[in-house]
Protein backbone atom coordinates (compact mmCIF):
# COMPACT_ATOMS: atom_id res chain seq x y z
CA UNK A 1 0.00 0.00 0.00
CA UNK A 2 1.35 3.37 -0.92
CA UNK A 3 1.02 6.03 1.69
CA UNK A 4 0.06 9.42 0.42
CA UNK A 5 2.61 11.92 1.53
CA UNK A 6 2.27 15.62 1.46
CA UNK A 7 5.58 17.18 0.53
CA UNK A 8 7.49 17.66 3.74
CA UNK A 9 7.92 21.43 3.48
CA UNK A 10 9.60 21.70 6.86
CA UNK A 11 12.24 19.26 5.76
CA UNK A 12 12.76 20.84 2.35
CA UNK A 13 12.99 24.43 3.53
CA UNK A 14 15.03 23.42 6.56
CA UNK A 15 17.54 21.54 4.43
CA UNK A 16 17.90 24.42 1.99
CA UNK A 17 18.47 27.00 4.74
CA UNK A 18 20.88 24.79 6.66
CA UNK A 19 22.68 23.89 3.45
CA UNK A 20 23.14 27.56 2.54
CA UNK A 21 24.46 28.48 5.97
CA UNK A 22 26.84 25.53 6.10
CA UNK A 23 28.03 26.34 2.58
CA UNK A 24 28.66 29.93 3.64
CA UNK A 25 30.76 28.74 6.56
CA UNK A 26 32.66 26.18 4.48
CA UNK A 27 33.45 28.68 1.72
CA UNK A 28 34.78 31.11 4.31
CA UNK A 29 37.48 28.57 5.13
CA UNK A 30 39.08 29.07 1.73
CA UNK A 31 37.66 32.30 0.39
CA UNK A 32 36.12 35.52 1.57
CA UNK A 33 35.62 38.48 -0.80
CA UNK A 34 37.82 40.67 1.43
CA UNK A 35 40.01 40.04 4.40
CA UNK A 36 37.37 40.16 7.16
CA UNK A 37 39.71 42.20 9.36
CA UNK A 38 41.07 44.55 6.72
CA UNK A 39 40.13 48.12 7.63
CA UNK A 40 39.59 50.68 4.94
CA UNK A 41 38.94 54.22 6.07
CA UNK A 42 37.65 55.17 2.62
CA UNK A 43 34.78 52.71 2.90
CA UNK A 44 33.57 53.58 6.40
CA UNK A 45 29.83 52.86 6.55
CA UNK A 46 29.81 52.24 2.83
CA UNK A 47 26.29 51.39 1.69
CA UNK A 48 25.13 48.26 -0.01
CA UNK A 49 26.78 47.94 -3.38
CA UNK A 50 27.95 45.29 -5.80
CA UNK A 51 31.41 45.50 -4.31
CA UNK A 52 30.12 45.27 -0.76
CA UNK A 53 26.80 43.39 -0.88
CA UNK A 54 26.11 44.04 2.82
CA UNK A 55 27.97 47.31 3.10
CA UNK A 56 30.87 48.14 5.40
CA UNK A 57 31.16 48.77 9.13
CA UNK A 58 32.59 51.60 11.20
CA UNK A 59 36.14 50.58 10.31
CA UNK A 60 35.34 50.08 6.66
CA UNK A 61 35.50 46.30 6.94
CA UNK A 62 33.40 44.33 4.48
CA UNK A 63 30.34 43.12 6.42
CA UNK A 64 29.66 40.21 4.08
CA UNK A 65 33.13 38.80 4.66
CA UNK A 66 32.74 39.28 8.38
CA UNK A 67 29.35 37.60 8.36
CA UNK A 68 30.90 34.59 6.59
CA UNK A 69 33.68 34.45 9.14
CA UNK A 70 31.24 34.90 12.01
CA UNK A 71 28.97 32.15 10.71
CA UNK A 72 31.93 29.82 10.63
CA UNK A 73 32.88 30.66 14.21
CA UNK A 74 29.33 30.33 15.49
CA UNK A 75 28.84 26.99 13.78
CA UNK A 76 32.19 25.77 15.06
CA UNK A 77 31.41 26.68 18.66
CA UNK A 78 27.91 25.23 18.41
CA UNK A 79 29.20 21.96 16.98
CA UNK A 80 31.84 21.69 19.67
CA UNK A 81 29.29 22.45 22.36
CA UNK A 82 26.86 19.83 21.15
CA UNK A 83 29.66 17.29 20.75
CA UNK A 84 30.82 17.77 24.34
CA UNK A 85 27.27 17.73 25.64
CA UNK A 86 26.26 14.63 23.69
CA UNK A 87 29.31 12.49 24.37
CA UNK A 88 29.37 13.13 28.10
CA UNK A 89 25.60 13.19 28.29
CA UNK A 90 25.38 9.74 26.68
CA UNK A 91 28.02 8.28 28.97
CA UNK A 92 26.51 9.77 32.10
CA UNK A 93 22.92 9.02 31.12
CA UNK A 94 23.67 5.48 29.99
CA UNK A 95 25.46 4.45 33.17
CA UNK A 96 23.06 6.10 35.60
CA UNK A 97 19.98 5.00 33.71
CA UNK A 98 21.10 1.42 33.25
CA UNK A 99 22.55 0.72 36.67
CA UNK A 100 20.38 2.98 38.82
CA UNK A 101 21.01 2.78 42.54
CA UNK A 102 22.76 5.18 44.86
CA UNK A 103 25.25 6.51 42.31
CA UNK A 104 22.35 7.37 40.02
CA UNK A 105 20.56 9.14 42.86
CA UNK A 106 23.54 11.29 43.70
CA UNK A 107 24.53 12.08 40.14
CA UNK A 108 20.98 12.93 39.22
CA UNK A 109 20.58 15.24 42.21
CA UNK A 110 23.67 17.11 41.09
CA UNK A 111 22.49 16.95 37.51
CA UNK A 112 19.14 18.43 38.48
CA UNK A 113 20.82 21.19 40.42
CA UNK A 114 22.92 22.08 37.38
CA UNK A 115 20.03 21.60 35.00
CA UNK A 116 17.96 24.02 37.02
CA UNK A 117 20.52 26.66 36.21
CA UNK A 118 19.82 28.38 32.92
CA UNK A 119 22.66 27.30 30.65
CA UNK A 120 23.75 30.82 29.81
CA UNK A 121 24.22 31.57 33.50
CA UNK A 122 26.28 28.47 34.02
CA UNK A 123 28.34 29.30 30.98
CA UNK A 124 28.89 32.81 32.37
CA UNK A 125 30.19 31.37 35.63
CA UNK A 126 32.55 29.06 33.82
CA UNK A 127 33.75 31.77 31.47
CA UNK A 128 34.30 34.11 34.39
CA UNK A 129 36.51 31.42 35.89
CA UNK A 130 38.31 30.24 32.76
CA UNK A 131 38.40 33.50 30.86
CA UNK A 132 36.67 34.26 27.58
CA UNK A 133 37.56 33.10 24.08
CA UNK A 134 36.26 30.68 21.50
CA UNK A 135 37.43 27.46 23.13
CA UNK A 136 36.47 28.45 26.65
CA UNK A 137 32.98 29.36 25.47
CA UNK A 138 32.75 25.97 23.81
CA UNK A 139 33.80 24.18 26.98
CA UNK A 140 31.55 26.33 29.15
CA UNK A 141 28.46 25.80 27.00
CA UNK A 142 29.36 22.15 26.51
CA UNK A 143 29.43 21.56 30.25
CA UNK A 144 26.24 23.52 30.64
CA UNK A 145 24.58 21.26 28.06
CA UNK A 146 25.66 17.93 29.54
CA UNK A 147 22.83 17.67 32.11
CA UNK A 148 20.03 18.06 29.59
CA UNK A 149 21.45 15.36 27.33
CA UNK A 150 22.21 13.12 30.29
CA UNK A 151 18.65 13.48 31.43
CA UNK A 152 17.20 12.46 28.08
CA UNK A 153 19.55 9.52 27.63
CA UNK A 154 18.93 8.37 31.19
CA UNK A 155 15.18 8.45 30.72
CA UNK A 156 15.51 6.38 27.55
CA UNK A 157 17.78 3.86 29.25
CA UNK A 158 15.44 3.61 32.22
CA UNK A 159 12.56 2.90 29.86
CA UNK A 160 14.44 0.42 27.70
CA UNK A 161 16.06 -1.39 30.60
CA UNK A 162 12.65 -2.70 31.63
CA UNK A 163 11.73 -3.95 28.17
CA UNK A 164 11.78 -7.64 27.47
CA UNK A 165 14.37 -7.43 24.72
CA UNK A 166 16.95 -6.37 27.30
CA UNK A 167 16.01 -9.27 29.53
CA UNK A 168 16.32 -11.52 26.53
CA UNK A 169 19.80 -10.15 25.77
CA UNK A 170 20.83 -10.78 29.35
CA UNK A 171 19.61 -14.35 29.12
CA UNK A 172 21.76 -14.83 26.02
CA UNK A 173 24.70 -13.99 28.23
CA UNK A 174 25.41 -10.48 26.96
CA UNK A 175 27.43 -8.34 29.37
CA UNK A 176 26.25 -4.98 30.69
CA UNK A 177 28.44 -2.91 28.37
CA UNK A 178 27.28 -4.86 25.35
CA UNK A 179 23.65 -4.48 26.39
CA UNK A 180 24.09 -0.77 26.97
CA UNK A 181 25.95 0.21 23.86
CA UNK A 182 25.05 -2.47 21.30
CA UNK A 183 21.48 -3.26 22.27
CA UNK A 184 19.99 -0.20 23.94
CA UNK A 185 21.87 2.78 22.56
CA UNK A 186 20.67 2.50 18.94
CA UNK A 187 17.10 2.64 20.23
CA UNK A 188 17.71 6.05 21.78
CA UNK A 189 18.96 7.64 18.57
CA UNK A 190 15.63 8.97 17.34
CA UNK A 191 14.97 10.76 20.61
CA UNK A 192 18.58 11.85 20.85
CA UNK A 193 18.60 13.22 17.31
CA UNK A 194 15.82 15.69 17.98
CA UNK A 195 17.38 16.87 21.20
CA UNK A 196 20.74 17.28 19.48
CA UNK A 197 19.03 19.54 16.97
CA UNK A 198 17.36 21.59 19.67
CA UNK A 199 20.63 21.66 21.57
CA UNK A 200 22.42 22.91 18.50
CA UNK A 201 20.02 25.82 18.21
CA UNK A 202 20.37 26.66 21.86
CA UNK A 203 24.13 26.59 21.41
CA UNK A 204 23.96 28.98 18.46
CA UNK A 205 21.76 31.37 20.44
CA UNK A 206 23.89 31.08 23.57
CA UNK A 207 27.13 31.66 21.70
CA UNK A 208 25.70 34.67 19.91
CA UNK A 209 24.36 35.97 23.21
CA UNK A 210 27.70 35.62 24.96
CA UNK A 211 29.59 37.20 22.10
CA UNK A 212 27.03 39.98 22.16
CA UNK A 213 27.95 40.55 25.78
CA UNK A 214 31.61 40.63 24.81
CA UNK A 215 32.58 37.48 26.67
CA UNK A 216 32.34 35.00 23.82
CA UNK A 217 34.48 34.86 20.73
CA UNK A 218 37.17 37.50 21.04
CA UNK A 219 38.59 39.83 18.40
CA UNK A 220 40.27 39.47 15.97
CA UNK A 221 37.89 36.53 15.34
CA UNK A 222 34.67 37.87 13.86
CA UNK A 223 31.44 36.81 15.51
CA UNK A 224 27.81 37.45 14.67
CA UNK A 225 26.87 38.32 18.22
CA UNK A 226 29.72 40.75 18.62
CA UNK A 227 28.93 42.42 15.31
CA UNK A 228 25.39 43.00 16.54
CA UNK A 229 26.54 44.63 19.73
CA UNK A 230 28.94 46.87 17.81
CA UNK A 231 26.22 47.71 15.31
CA UNK A 232 23.86 48.84 18.03
CA UNK A 233 25.68 52.16 18.32
CA UNK A 234 25.10 52.93 14.65
CA UNK A 235 21.58 51.56 14.57
CA UNK A 236 19.87 54.66 13.28
CA UNK A 237 22.49 55.69 10.73
CA UNK A 238 23.43 52.25 9.39
CA UNK A 239 20.70 49.72 10.22
CA UNK A 240 22.10 47.27 7.68
CA UNK A 241 25.13 46.73 9.93
CA UNK A 242 22.87 45.15 12.54
CA UNK A 243 20.41 43.66 10.09
CA UNK A 244 22.62 41.18 8.24
CA UNK A 245 24.34 39.43 11.16
CA UNK A 246 20.94 39.19 12.87
CA UNK A 247 19.34 37.79 9.76
CA UNK A 248 21.99 35.09 9.45
CA UNK A 249 21.46 34.00 13.06
CA UNK A 250 17.73 33.80 12.47
CA UNK A 251 18.12 31.81 9.25
CA UNK A 252 20.58 29.47 10.91
CA UNK A 253 18.28 28.73 13.84
CA UNK A 254 15.16 28.63 11.67
CA UNK A 255 16.77 26.25 9.20
CA UNK A 256 17.76 23.88 11.92
CA UNK A 257 14.47 23.91 13.74
CA UNK A 258 12.56 23.32 10.50
CA UNK A 259 14.94 20.50 9.67
CA UNK A 260 14.39 18.84 13.02
CA UNK A 261 10.64 19.38 12.68
CA UNK A 262 10.80 17.79 9.25
CA UNK A 263 12.80 14.82 10.47
CA UNK A 264 10.39 14.08 13.30
CA UNK A 265 7.55 14.35 10.79
CA UNK A 266 9.31 11.82 8.60
CA UNK A 267 9.83 9.27 11.31
CA UNK A 268 6.14 9.23 12.26
Amino acid sequence: MTIKKKPNYNFIIGSILTGLIVALALVSLVYTPYDPDAMDAANKFAGISLKHPMGCDNFGRDIFSRVMEGTKNTLFVALGTVAIGTVFGILLGAFTGYFGGILDEILMRINDAIFAFPSILLALVIVSLLGSGKYNVMIALGIAFIPSFARIVRAEFLKNRELDYVKSARLMGAGSLRIMFVHILPNTFSVLASSVMIGFNNAVLAEAGMSFLGIGVQPPDASLGRMLSEAQTYLFSTPSYAFFPGLVIILMVLGFSLLSEGISQKSV
Binding site: M1, T2, I3, K4
Partner: protein, 261 residues
Protein backbone atom coordinates in the same frame (compact mmCIF):
# COMPACT_ATOMS: atom_id res chain seq x y z
CA UNK B 1 -36.59 -2.37 16.50
CA UNK B 2 -34.42 -0.23 18.77
CA UNK B 3 -31.39 0.09 16.54
CA UNK B 4 -31.00 -0.73 12.89
CA UNK B 5 -27.77 -0.41 10.98
CA UNK B 6 -28.10 -0.70 7.22
CA UNK B 7 -25.23 -1.13 4.78
CA UNK B 8 -22.70 0.71 6.86
CA UNK B 9 -19.40 1.25 5.05
CA UNK B 10 -16.40 2.92 6.62
CA UNK B 11 -13.52 4.17 4.55
CA UNK B 12 -10.22 5.70 5.57
CA UNK B 13 -8.87 8.42 3.34
CA UNK B 14 -5.53 9.09 4.96
CA UNK B 15 -3.69 7.10 2.31
CA UNK B 16 -3.28 7.47 -1.41
CA UNK B 17 -5.89 4.81 -2.07
CA UNK B 18 -8.90 4.85 0.22
CA UNK B 19 -9.06 1.82 2.45
CA UNK B 20 -12.36 0.31 3.43
CA UNK B 21 -12.33 -1.09 6.94
CA UNK B 22 -16.01 -2.04 7.21
CA UNK B 23 -18.10 -3.35 4.28
CA UNK B 24 -21.90 -3.44 4.21
CA UNK B 25 -22.38 -3.86 7.91
CA UNK B 26 -25.95 -4.68 8.92
CA UNK B 27 -27.27 -5.07 12.41
CA UNK B 28 -30.53 -4.94 14.28
CA UNK B 29 -30.86 -4.74 18.00
CA UNK B 30 -34.10 -5.28 19.92
CA UNK B 31 -34.93 -3.91 23.32
CA UNK B 32 -33.31 -5.97 26.06
CA UNK B 33 -31.24 -7.97 23.62
CA UNK B 34 -27.51 -8.71 23.91
CA UNK B 35 -25.75 -9.03 20.58
CA UNK B 36 -22.11 -9.99 20.28
CA UNK B 37 -19.73 -8.92 17.55
CA UNK B 38 -16.86 -11.38 17.32
CA UNK B 39 -13.66 -11.09 15.34
CA UNK B 40 -9.90 -10.96 15.53
CA UNK B 41 -7.80 -7.82 15.25
CA UNK B 42 -8.44 -5.99 11.98
CA UNK B 43 -11.93 -7.44 11.59
CA UNK B 44 -13.58 -4.02 11.81
CA UNK B 45 -15.61 -4.84 14.93
CA UNK B 46 -14.37 -1.87 16.95
CA UNK B 47 -14.77 0.53 14.01
CA UNK B 48 -18.40 -0.51 13.58
CA UNK B 49 -19.05 -0.05 17.27
CA UNK B 50 -17.44 3.38 17.36
CA UNK B 51 -19.48 4.44 14.34
CA UNK B 52 -22.71 3.37 16.05
CA UNK B 53 -21.70 5.28 19.19
CA UNK B 54 -21.14 8.35 17.03
CA UNK B 55 -17.46 8.48 17.89
CA UNK B 56 -15.99 8.22 14.41
CA UNK B 57 -15.80 11.80 13.34
CA UNK B 58 -12.40 12.04 11.81
CA UNK B 59 -12.26 14.16 8.72
CA UNK B 60 -10.25 11.63 6.73
CA UNK B 61 -12.94 9.02 7.16
CA UNK B 62 -16.04 8.42 5.06
CA UNK B 63 -19.11 6.65 6.31
CA UNK B 64 -22.12 5.65 4.28
CA UNK B 65 -25.30 3.75 5.04
CA UNK B 66 -27.79 4.31 7.81
CA UNK B 67 -27.67 3.99 11.56
CA UNK B 68 -31.30 4.24 12.65
CA UNK B 69 -32.00 4.80 16.31
CA UNK B 70 -35.62 5.48 17.21
CA UNK B 71 -36.15 6.13 13.52
CA UNK B 72 -33.49 8.84 13.48
CA UNK B 73 -30.41 8.42 11.26
CA UNK B 74 -27.41 9.05 13.48
CA UNK B 75 -25.09 9.25 10.51
CA UNK B 76 -26.75 12.24 8.93
CA UNK B 77 -28.41 14.06 11.83
CA UNK B 78 -26.95 17.26 13.26
CA UNK B 79 -24.02 16.97 15.62
CA UNK B 80 -25.96 18.61 18.44
CA UNK B 81 -28.76 16.08 17.96
CA UNK B 82 -26.27 13.22 18.00
CA UNK B 83 -24.82 14.59 21.23
CA UNK B 84 -28.25 14.61 22.84
CA UNK B 85 -28.33 10.80 22.37
CA UNK B 86 -24.75 10.16 23.44
CA UNK B 87 -24.45 9.26 27.10
CA UNK B 88 -28.21 9.58 27.34
CA UNK B 89 -29.65 6.83 25.14
CA UNK B 90 -26.46 5.29 23.83
CA UNK B 91 -23.44 4.78 26.08
CA UNK B 92 -20.14 3.09 25.62
CA UNK B 93 -17.49 1.39 27.75
CA UNK B 94 -13.99 0.53 26.60
CA UNK B 95 -11.21 -1.99 26.90
CA UNK B 96 -8.75 -0.09 29.09
CA UNK B 97 -10.56 1.24 32.15
CA UNK B 98 -7.42 3.03 33.33
CA UNK B 99 -6.83 5.16 30.28
CA UNK B 100 -10.52 5.56 29.57
CA UNK B 101 -11.02 7.49 32.78
CA UNK B 102 -9.65 11.01 33.10
CA UNK B 103 -6.68 10.71 35.48
CA UNK B 104 -7.08 14.16 37.02
CA UNK B 105 -10.83 14.11 37.76
CA UNK B 106 -12.51 12.53 40.73
CA UNK B 107 -14.62 9.41 40.24
CA UNK B 108 -17.77 11.21 41.36
CA UNK B 109 -17.43 13.93 38.77
CA UNK B 110 -16.85 11.40 36.02
CA UNK B 111 -19.77 9.20 37.02
CA UNK B 112 -22.26 12.06 37.12
CA UNK B 113 -20.94 13.87 34.07
CA UNK B 114 -23.75 12.64 31.83
CA UNK B 115 -26.28 14.00 34.33
CA UNK B 116 -24.62 17.36 34.17
CA UNK B 117 -24.77 17.38 30.38
CA UNK B 118 -28.26 15.98 29.82
CA UNK B 119 -30.32 16.92 32.89
CA UNK B 120 -31.01 19.89 35.13
CA UNK B 121 -30.63 18.00 38.38
CA UNK B 122 -29.19 19.82 41.36
CA UNK B 123 -25.82 18.95 42.80
CA UNK B 124 -27.43 17.01 45.64
CA UNK B 125 -29.68 15.03 43.30
CA UNK B 126 -26.73 14.20 41.09
CA UNK B 127 -24.80 13.00 44.11
CA UNK B 128 -27.67 10.75 45.20
CA UNK B 129 -27.97 9.27 41.71
CA UNK B 130 -24.24 8.70 41.46
CA UNK B 131 -24.14 6.88 44.80
CA UNK B 132 -27.10 4.75 43.83
CA UNK B 133 -25.61 3.73 40.46
CA UNK B 134 -22.27 2.98 42.16
CA UNK B 135 -24.28 0.70 44.43
CA UNK B 136 -25.91 -0.90 41.42
CA UNK B 137 -22.51 -1.82 39.95
CA UNK B 138 -21.68 -3.41 43.31
CA UNK B 139 -19.02 -1.01 44.45
CA UNK B 140 -18.57 -1.24 48.20
CA UNK B 141 -18.44 2.01 50.10
CA UNK B 142 -19.51 4.23 47.17
CA UNK B 143 -19.34 7.38 49.30
CA UNK B 144 -15.58 7.09 49.65
CA UNK B 145 -15.02 5.90 46.08
CA UNK B 146 -16.91 9.00 44.94
CA UNK B 147 -14.06 11.18 46.22
CA UNK B 148 -11.22 9.06 44.86
CA UNK B 149 -9.15 9.33 41.71
CA UNK B 150 -8.89 6.55 39.08
CA UNK B 151 -5.31 5.62 39.96
CA UNK B 152 -6.43 4.77 43.48
CA UNK B 153 -8.70 1.96 42.25
CA UNK B 154 -8.00 -1.55 40.97
CA UNK B 155 -8.65 -2.51 37.34
CA UNK B 156 -11.91 -4.25 38.12
CA UNK B 157 -13.15 -1.31 40.18
CA UNK B 158 -12.29 1.10 37.40
CA UNK B 159 -14.31 -0.90 34.91
CA UNK B 160 -17.24 -0.88 37.34
CA UNK B 161 -16.87 2.89 37.56
CA UNK B 162 -16.88 3.08 33.75
CA UNK B 163 -20.06 1.00 33.67
CA UNK B 164 -21.65 3.19 36.33
CA UNK B 165 -20.86 6.36 34.42
CA UNK B 166 -22.26 4.83 31.22
CA UNK B 167 -25.40 3.50 32.94
CA UNK B 168 -26.32 6.47 35.11
CA UNK B 169 -28.99 7.72 32.71
CA UNK B 170 -30.22 4.16 32.06
CA UNK B 171 -29.46 4.29 28.34
CA UNK B 172 -31.36 2.09 25.92
CA UNK B 173 -28.13 0.78 24.43
CA UNK B 174 -24.80 0.02 26.04
CA UNK B 175 -21.91 -0.60 23.67
CA UNK B 176 -19.15 -2.57 25.37
CA UNK B 177 -15.86 -2.80 23.49
CA UNK B 178 -13.80 -5.68 24.92
CA UNK B 179 -14.66 -4.55 28.44
CA UNK B 180 -13.01 -7.50 30.17
CA UNK B 181 -9.93 -8.14 28.03
CA UNK B 182 -7.60 -6.19 30.29
CA UNK B 183 -8.88 -7.86 33.46
CA UNK B 184 -8.01 -11.00 35.40
CA UNK B 185 -10.25 -14.03 34.78
CA UNK B 186 -12.04 -13.91 38.12
CA UNK B 187 -12.72 -10.18 37.74
CA UNK B 188 -13.78 -10.83 34.15
CA UNK B 189 -16.41 -13.28 35.36
CA UNK B 190 -17.75 -10.72 37.84
CA UNK B 191 -18.03 -8.02 35.20
CA UNK B 192 -19.88 -10.37 32.84
CA UNK B 193 -22.30 -11.25 35.64
CA UNK B 194 -22.81 -7.58 36.32
CA UNK B 195 -23.58 -6.86 32.65
CA UNK B 196 -26.12 -9.70 32.67
CA UNK B 197 -27.74 -8.29 35.78
CA UNK B 198 -27.96 -4.77 34.42
CA UNK B 199 -29.43 -6.11 31.19
CA UNK B 200 -32.17 -7.91 33.14
CA UNK B 201 -32.90 -5.15 35.65
CA UNK B 202 -32.81 -2.11 33.41
CA UNK B 203 -33.75 -3.72 30.09
CA UNK B 204 -30.66 -2.16 28.53
CA UNK B 205 -29.69 -3.67 25.20
CA UNK B 206 -26.02 -4.50 24.98
CA UNK B 207 -23.75 -4.58 21.96
CA UNK B 208 -20.84 -6.69 23.14
CA UNK B 209 -17.63 -6.55 21.10
CA UNK B 210 -15.12 -9.29 21.84
CA UNK B 211 -12.45 -11.55 20.45
CA UNK B 212 -13.33 -14.14 23.07
CA UNK B 213 -15.90 -16.62 21.81
CA UNK B 214 -16.48 -18.29 25.13
CA UNK B 215 -17.46 -14.94 26.66
CA UNK B 216 -19.81 -14.19 23.79
CA UNK B 217 -21.39 -17.61 24.17
CA UNK B 218 -22.27 -17.13 27.83
CA UNK B 219 -23.41 -13.53 27.58
CA UNK B 220 -25.07 -12.96 24.21
CA UNK B 221 -28.38 -13.94 22.64
CA UNK B 222 -27.19 -13.41 19.11
CA UNK B 223 -23.78 -12.98 17.51
CA UNK B 224 -22.17 -11.57 14.41
CA UNK B 225 -18.84 -12.96 13.18
CA UNK B 226 -16.61 -10.49 11.37
CA UNK B 227 -13.41 -10.89 9.38
CA UNK B 228 -11.42 -8.24 7.57
CA UNK B 229 -14.29 -5.78 7.50
CA UNK B 230 -16.99 -8.21 6.35
CA UNK B 231 -19.78 -9.87 8.27
CA UNK B 232 -19.27 -13.56 7.67
CA UNK B 233 -22.08 -15.01 9.64
CA UNK B 234 -24.81 -14.07 12.03
CA UNK B 235 -27.41 -15.88 14.02
CA UNK B 236 -28.55 -17.18 17.39
CA UNK B 237 -25.77 -18.09 19.73
CA UNK B 238 -26.63 -21.81 19.81
CA UNK B 239 -26.87 -21.97 16.03
CA UNK B 240 -23.49 -20.36 15.53
CA UNK B 241 -21.72 -22.54 18.02
CA UNK B 242 -23.44 -25.81 17.22
CA UNK B 243 -23.75 -25.44 13.46
CA UNK B 244 -21.32 -22.85 12.18
CA UNK B 245 -21.85 -22.24 8.46
CA UNK B 246 -18.51 -20.68 7.66
CA UNK B 247 -15.14 -22.39 7.81
CA UNK B 248 -13.65 -19.37 9.56
CA UNK B 249 -16.24 -19.53 12.34
CA UNK B 250 -15.46 -23.19 12.78
CA UNK B 251 -11.77 -22.35 12.93
CA UNK B 252 -12.40 -19.72 15.59
CA UNK B 253 -14.41 -22.14 17.69
CA UNK B 254 -11.83 -24.86 17.33
CA UNK B 255 -9.03 -22.49 18.29
CA UNK B 256 -10.45 -22.33 21.80
CA UNK B 257 -8.77 -25.16 23.67
CA UNK B 258 -11.44 -27.58 24.82
CA UNK B 259 -11.94 -28.08 28.51
CA UNK B 260 -13.33 -31.55 29.13
CA UNK B 261 -14.22 -31.86 32.72
Amino acid sequence: MLLEVKDLNIEFHDHLTPETVVYDFNLSLKEGEIVGIVGESGSGKTMSALAIAGLLNRKDMKKSGEILFDGKDLLTCKRSELRSYQGNDISMIFQEPMTSLNPVKKIGAQVEESLKIHTNLTKEERYQKAISILNDVEIKDPESVYHKYPHQLSGGMRQRVMIASAMILEPKILIADEPTTALDVTIQAQIIKLLKKLNKQKKTSILFISHDLSLVRTLCHRAIVMKQGYILEEGNIEEIFEHPKEAYTKQLIEAIPALEL
